[in-house]
């Protein structure tokens, strides 16, 4: 049978993608199932994009160890996979004597978690580093190892490299039934009726991990979606902050942050509200109000009139709050569940941990001699245009004349970049947006949407009316056509 694998991963978020990339080092048959039309379309796409230093989690949690380890692994991954990542550093800011005391607690927690180079800073030093902060700030915990990353490009880069190394990717395949297999330990059946057998199945299905575990008959935890709303601000105010600005945390979250993004614009959020509905990605008027009130306390010049877009994501919070990573009563079925914040940061360490679990469970892992560690990123000209480095733009045009065809005016994205994203298998509007930034600027796709659709049509042969925003049901052009036409 064709669909036989040594390892089958369910879920193409950063956790599943990270595991896929790690396991693609070895001579095994490896597959990944993703229910959406592209990877990174769940929790990973609405992530804050912060690589946390690791001082938030209590030392006894799995969070704490994996966060600090994961953070360390980013430099090498970034070098190999060419995704945008910068160690900007972070400030946890205090506005009262009481909060100053709390900073001390986190400083000590960070020391216990082995977070390097942390410092408690004076008011003067803080304002020198971040002049737009509220001058009422009294002190801050500085962590230079905090980083920012483009979460979807990170996820795409992991999958692209795994694909170069033999991963088989199945998108639009939703796992629904999981049972003991005849030829291999586990059999997975999808909604479309496809059947996959594997010696090991990794449950990396985000907010749905409890359902997948239950389908395998190993329920034992519940995933509560904890919704976070984020608001992206105009590039005009991109210089508000250079570092990630944390408030003193609340019991359920790291609080409402001010987040520089690798693409330039600043983001504020995320809120943290436990909800029931795993499909509820609504932003709310209350969320907006709360987020801006908090953000303005830290950086008073932040304005709601600078919002260019907003979105919401769901953190998969498991019973007990910690990550659930390990084998289960079902032979071959391994959980990588409840990966809420700091999940993005921890994901490279989770991948290594899962690899070690597989070894212990008896999977033979022999390194591929011809493993390709490098994945080429897409060359973007936006930064060169912004920095007036026109020689670099000319160089790109010499290599590919399509770099002179601007598709997205707001973010300076060209046809060359969009065509490359399409070539790499990203064929819906949201995927291309995540991959190239086309449509993320001020006009929010007003100018580029029709241009991008034409490139998809030309390069994939998909008729215009079949092109979607994010998969079947989200066609841009509405069909069926109006009656009588």
């Amino acid at each position: 049978m064709n669909n036989e694998y040594d390892v089958l991963i369910i879920g193409g978020g950063v956790v599943g993608a990270g595991i896929a990339r790690e396991l693609s080092h070895y001579k095994i048959r490896l597959a990944l199932l993703e229910k959406e039309v592209d990877v990174s379309f769940g929790t990973s796409k609405s992530n804050s994009g912060i690589v946390h230093a690791g001082f938030h989690s209590p030392p006894n949690m799995l969070h704490a160890r994996l966060c600090v380890e994961g953070n360390r692994l980013y430099d090498r991954l970034c070098e190999e996979l060419e995704f945008p990542f910068e160690r900007r550093g972070s400030l946890m800011v205090a506005f009262s004597e009481e909060e100053i005391q709390i900073l001390q607690t986190y400083y000590e927690r960070g020391r216990k978690n082995n977070v390097p180079y942390m410092e408690l800073l004076s008011r003067e030093k803080i304002l020198e580093m971040e002049p737009n902060l509220n001058p009422d700030v009294l002190g801050a915990l500085y962590a230079p190892t905090t980083g920012i990353v483009c979460p979807y490009e990170f996820c795409y880069a992991l999958v692209e490299d795994a694909l170069q190394n033999g991963l088989e990717l199945f998108t639009s395949e939703k796992a629904v039934k999981i049972r003991r297999g005849k030829t291999r330990a586990v059999e997975v059946e999808t909604e479309k009726g496809s059947c996959f057998s594997a010696s090991f199945v990794i449950n990396a299905s985000g907010v749905h991990a409890d359902e997948i575990a239950a389908a395998a008959g190993v329920a034992g935890f519940k995933i509560t979606p904890r919704k976070g709303e984020e608001y992206l601000l105009d590039r005009r105010v991109a210089n508000l902050v250079r570092r990630v600005i944390y408030p003193v945390p609340t019991p359920t979250s790291k609080g409402l942050l001010i987040i520089p993004t690798v693409d330039g614009p600043v983001m504020v959020g995320p809120s943290a509200v436990d909800i029931e509905d795993k499909t509820d990605l609504n932003t709310t008027a209350d969320g907006l109000k709360a987020i801006f009130e908090h953000a303005q306390r830290m950086v008073p010049s932040i304005r709601t009139t600078d919002i260019i877009t907003s979105f919401a994501g769901l953190r998969p919070v498991a019973t007990g709050n910690d990550f659930i990573i390990g084998p289960t009563k079902m032979k071959g079925f391994i959980n990588a569940a409840g990966i809420q914040s700091p999940g993005l940061t921890s994901s490279p360490a989770i991948a290594e941990m899962v690899r070690d679990i597989l070894l212990k469970e008896g999977l033979k892992l022999e390194i591929k001699p011809d493993f390709i560690a490098r994945r080429k990123g897409i060359v973007h000209i936006r930064k060169a245009v912004e920095d007036r480095d026109y020689e670099k733009v000319e160089e790109a045009i010499r290599a590919n004349p399509d770099y002179s065809k601007l598709v997205c005016r707001c973010e300076n994205v060209t046809e060359a970049e969009v065509a490359e994203a399409v070539k790499r298998g990203h064929t819906c509007m949201d995927s291309i947006k995540f991959m190239t930034r086309a449509g993320t600027g001020r006009c929010q796709g007003g100018f580029c949407t029709s241009r991008i659709m034409k490139i998809i049509e030309r390069d994939t042969g998909t008729p215009l009316e079949k092109i979607t925003k994010k998969g079947p049901g989200s066609e841009i052009l509405f069909l069926p056509l109006i009656k009588g036409r």
């Binding site: 608001y231 992206l232 499909t279 990605l281 609504n282 932003t283 709310t284 008027a285 969320g287 907006l288 709601t304 919002i307 260019i308 877009t309 907003s310 979105f311 245009v385 007036r388 026109y390 733009v393 000319e394 045009i397 004349p401 002179s404 065809k405 601007l406 005016r409 707001c410 300076n412 060209t414 001020r442 006009c443 929010q444 796709g445 007003g446 100018f447 949407t449 029709s450 215009l464 009316e465 979607t468 925003k469 994010k470 998969g471 079947p472 049901g473 989200s474 066609e475 841009i476 052009l477 509405f478 056509l481 109006i482 009656k483 009588g484 036409r485």
Partner: protein
């Protein structure tokens, strides 16, 4: 490449400015446009009503544009399409223009004068932060217009329109004629945003309801919009849930305002006005950067293409004068927005000169008196039966008094 004048944008503003430069003996002109062909947004405005003032006849958008395009061709004005200006770098007495051209790659062009005529863009869902989900089927009215009129694809069957700007109203009619069911137009203000003739011809004539002082408080649907929640606005906030109602729909069009497109202007160091979002200009329509001029919707959002053409003509004339060696600037004085006036353009003018001023009221009012006065005397006093923010006023001041320190435009109620 060298040119005397570079015009950015080949819509009615850019074409008008270029023709006016030519008229005033400037021959070395290049117009740049990012689209495949000139004409700008007019090309997707297939409805009529254009040209009533300028040509005294009723034209469609493409017909209106065609007249200027033909003239530009006859006069051998160079138009480079499929090209974007990405930068304007100031040199001494000239500008280094950086272009990305589909045909020619990255090119530098040296020019003495730049005319900013990039038009405007539509405010979108992100700008107004409507709560709810993020499905397909939410688009700006202008994009829907392009889809319908250029590509021949209707955006949907069951349509709700938020905002009563002119493009939204025109699309309400256009989509109804195409067989769609336009369920309602929702407007947050207590008055309509578009021209009265469009309210009558596009909504009333088709019995499309207009909900004033209402907005959309929630968008629902995961892949495609399936409904919107409409909420009355009470005291600046959404009314309680019992007063809200749902409209099922598969498409939400947004016609919630236009913003002059000025990223390039900012890059060139041009100062912008916080109210108009366009450049701060003098009576020659010259910006804060000498040699850079602005006109059309990139300068201020106009109601009529005819007015854009008129402004562009004036802009081209002043740019030609500047190129011809300029003129000594007389003393400048500020123009101020007084009672009930949102802005006045230009923002400064020369004493002793003729000037046409544009301004808009902040809110609708009836039976008011418009006054234009200096610190010393009243220049214009005129009764206005009704004023609306959707109607721009343009008034000519034959000569600004030599001794004036400022000019103020205001509306006052007749009773006073």
């Amino acid at each position: 490449m060298n040119f005397e004048a570079l015009v950015i944008g080949a819509g009615p503003a850019g074409l008008g400015a270029a023709l006016s430069l030519k008229e005033n003996n400037i021959n070395d002109i290049l117009i740049i446009d990012r689209e495949d062909s000139p004409g700008g947004i007019l090309m997707q405005c297939i409805h009529n009503g254009f040209g009533l003032h300028r040509f005294k006849e009723e034209l469609t958008g493409p017909e209106y544009a065609e007249r200027d395009i033909r003239l530009a061709r006859e006069k051998n004005i160079a138009i480079l399409t499929r090209a974007c200006v990405v930068d304007i770098i100031r040199g001494s007495g000239s500008f280094d223009i950086i272009l990305l051209s589909e045909e020619k790659g990255l090119i530098h062009v040296e020019v003495k004068v730049v005319i900013l005529a990039m038009g405007c863009r539509e405010r979108n869902r992100g700008n107004i932060a409507i709560p709810g989900s993020r499905p397909a089927g939410i688009l700006t009215a202008g994009f829907a217009q392009k889809m319908m009129n250029i590509f021949g694809h209707p955006p949907g069957n069951e349509i709700v329109i938020l905002g009563s700007g002119d493009i939204g109203l025109i699309m309400a009619r256009r989509l109804t004629l195409e067989g769609a069911n336009v369920k309602a137009v929702i407007e947050a203000q207590p008055y309509a945003g578009g021209l009265n003739r469009n309210i009558v011809q596009c909504l009333h004539d088709f019995e499309i309801p207009l909900y004033l002082s209402h907005t959309i408080s929630r968008i629902s649907g995961s892949m495609r919009v399936n409904s919107v929640e409409v909420a009355p606005i009470e005291g600046g906030a959404f009314a309680g849930s019992q007063k809200r109602f749902a409209l099922t729909c598969d498409t939400l069009l947004l016609s919630v305002g236009l913003i002059p497109e000025n990223e390039l202007s900012l890059r060139a160091g041009v100062a912008l006005d916080p109210v108009t979002h366009g450049a701060i200009v003098d009576n020659d329509l010259m910006t804060s950067v000498p040699g850079i001029f602005a006109c059309g919707n990139a300068l201020q959002v106009h109601d009529l293409a005819d007015n854009v053409s008129e402004e562009a003509e004036c802009c081209g004339r002043s740019a030609a004068q500047y190129l011809a060696g300029g003129k000594a600037k007389a003393r400048e004085l500020p123009l101020k927005a007084g009672n009930l006036v949102r802005y006045v353009l230009p923002m400064r003018a020369e004493a002793g000169k003729e000037t046409t001023i544009s301004f808009r009221p902040i809110s609708p009012a009836q039976k008011v008196i418009l006054t234009v006065k200096t610190d010393k005397e009243e220049l214009i006093r005129k009764k206005e039966r009704k004023i609306f923010p959707s109607i721009m006023h343009r008034v000519r001041i034959p000569k600004i008094p030599e001794d004036a320190q400022f000019i103020e435009v205001s509306f006052a109620s007749e009773e006073k």
